[in-house]
Symmetry: C2
Subunit: 393 residues, 2 copies
């Protein structure tokens, strides 16, 4: 046997996540572990909740990090808010809407699907029509920022339509939190989940969530037990609750939560609006470079996410070879397409700590060089200067 | 607002977990994050699986870390192996057996409870009788090492009885892994879960699991879908599977898994049997000290865990005040009793990196001083020298 310590290569992470982690966060995770019921840890939990309320723009008391990845945050929303026999309208415009459907069905409920073309936002008119057709629907679920395509939907409008039809809402904000405008209270979102590894640039493994009073009312008045013990908010609230009492539920991932706290401190220092603006600013330069190269974006500018750039792959190019060369020669990770998008797009992330001028210029330079070497039909040697010009403008 | 970085106090963790984390593991978690599908990360995953097979003493192909705490590892075992309408015999001798019952019922199955006195091991004769009475039972679940009391049960015998009655087995090894003899293949355990934060001394948040071929056969032949998407092994196997192909399921907690890998490298360096022996060696010295003080153990020596020491609280002592003083003046964490054990016992952990002579001597010295100051009816100033004598013997 004799397996030694693992020393990862130093990459630049410009895929769909994890994004580059700020060294301050890496250092925070290496601080000495303390007990999950230690008064000092409880203080840190309270601070994390406050910081997270700011990031989500909410006063929701039930705002906290789930001790598991975003998929578990999604599942927490569904298993707590959906009861067997209910009807849930799921708006699907990418991979993560499909996963919502899976969640609904595993809760013993029926998913009424609104399927949009991938790369398009959810159409409010279709939601309106679907809810009119299904007056007994209980809940509407959709993805704010689709990580599989890079399209943003109008969360505020969709939530408002759902409420007019007496439906609660579950919103996937995995890729939008801290990268795009997101206002949980103003938009009256009922349940929201995100991930630690996107625009707040923390290590993966934590899922921030928030629940409105309307959602809590539904959860505390369920007719059936939540099917998951680990994710049952009636139990989790006893640990993360705001009454000062901490009852043991599970052992929190202490060091991961140090990192999460630090990520939110950094976000607070920058300011949420500044973070949104920075994501847009670097996207604009990347866009100038990508277009100067003669490549195009999969998603229309009107609903394109600045932090997740789906770039169409030039004709006749072995896209996996491009990614391998970027990884092996430049230590640069960009993402492949997921599901039906495989082979059609690359996903270039400009998320959190990775959303910098340095990364935009290096990525464009590397992509330009690799594609030129492979004889791709692009405008060579234009990308970097176009991005520089965009920054200078 | 303006919340600053969190700098934890430096504690010595001698509670029921998390245990002290080796600085090598803390450093490993601070290494640069890479993508969860990066070839370098995949290599590390394969190494972790090999190292974990060694720790569990198994050749089970489906042996891996779950991306969430031990409670999620428990839930993964139940939701995958239990179908609605089935019967599960749950042997309960502490808090975690109760949690198993919750899991069974949330799977839509019936839990047949064997309730033992807390602090006692599970009685094989009662399991035999219960299975004879319920020939239609599908599964037997029990806790190998009860963290709430510090009692160990005879896993080998219990599994053998279950198999004679055509039942699969789920074993909770949260506190036993690396601390007490545990042989998954030799004992023919079907499904087992543990935690990262006990005797392998990693940060909390990861749950190692292993499933036998018999278990996999049941999982792949289920009549119903697994109720949890996040924990569905049919999906998770696609990511952690051994066929070299990695299909995206969820984003793995990359840095936590660096720490987990390092913890297993350290275990491999020490040797599993040496780790078991070290836990016993330090327990013997702690025991000499505790008994010299005039205190007693809650669990009989015959089935007492060396890594989790339930010590009875002397008459008339405010046990919470003792723990507070230990924490505030000595930066030493010991555990309270859980549930019905609250106020009756302290739980002193000697787990993993915390199982050292230094910790035994310091803990005894501190406890002796604090109890003497509070006027407890103990033999003062005897504990440390008794422990030293035990080490010298």
């Amino acid at each position: 046997m004799a397996i030694g310590s693992f020393h990862p290569p130093v990459r630049t992470l410009m895929g769909p996540g994890p994004s580059d982690v700020n060294p301050r966060i890496l250092e925070a995770m290496s601080r000495p572990t303390i007990g999950h019921l230690d008064p000092a840890f409880v203080t840190m939990m309270e601070e994390s909740k406050e910081l997270l309320k700011y990031a989500f723009q909410t006063e929701n008391k039930l705002t906290m990090p789930v001790s598991a990845p975003g998929s578990a945050g999604m599942e927490m929303c569904f298993v707590n808010l959906v009861e067997p026999g209910e009807k849930v309208v799921v708006c699907q415009n990418g991979v993560f809407g499909m996963r919502m459907k899976e969640n609904v069905e595993r809760c013993g409920a029926t998913a009424i699907m609104i399927e949009e073309d991938w790369g398009k936002p959810v159409d409010p008119a279709r939601l309106e029509a679907t809810l009119a057709e299904h007056p007994d629907a209980n809940l509407v679920a959709f993805v704010h920022a689709e990580t599989s395509t890079g399209a943003i939907s109008d969360a505020k409008t969709l939530v408002s339509i759902a409420h007019q039809h007496n439906c609660l809402t579950i919103v996937d904000a995995v890729t939008s939190l801290a990268g795009s405008e997101l206002k949980v209270d103003e938009w009256e979102i009922d349940a929201i989940y995100s991930g630690s590894q996107k625009c707040i640039s923390c290590a993966p493994g934590i899922s921030p969530v928030s629940f409105s009073e309307r959602a809590i009312h539904k959860i505390t008045n369920r007719k059936t037990k939540v099917q998951s013990w680990f994710l049952d908010l009636n139990l989790v609230m006893g640990y993360w609750g705001s009454d000062g009492q901490r009852s043991y539920h599970h052992t929190a991932p202490v060091n991961s939560l140090y990192g999460f706290h630090e990520a939110l401190v950094i976000l607070q220092e920058e300011g949420l609006e500044n973070s949104w603006a920075r994501h847009q600013y670097n996207h604009n330069a990347l866009k100038a470079g990508v277009e100067a190269m003669g490549l195009s974006f999969f998603v229309d500018e009107a609903y394109r996410l600045p932090q997740l750039n789906a770039v169409t792959i030039p004709e006749g190019i072995d896209e996996a070879a491009v990614r391998s060369t970027l990884l092996n020669s430049y230590n640069l990770e960009i993402g492949a397409g997921l599901g039906p998008m495989a082979g059609k797009i690359w996903r270039i992330g400009l998320m959190g700590f990775a959303s910098t001028e340095t990364n935009v210029l290096n990525c464009l330079g590397a992509l330009d060089a690799v594609l030129s070497d492979m004889g791709a039909d692009i405008q060579s040697s234009k990308a970097v200067s176009a991005a520089k010009a965009a920054y200078a403008a």
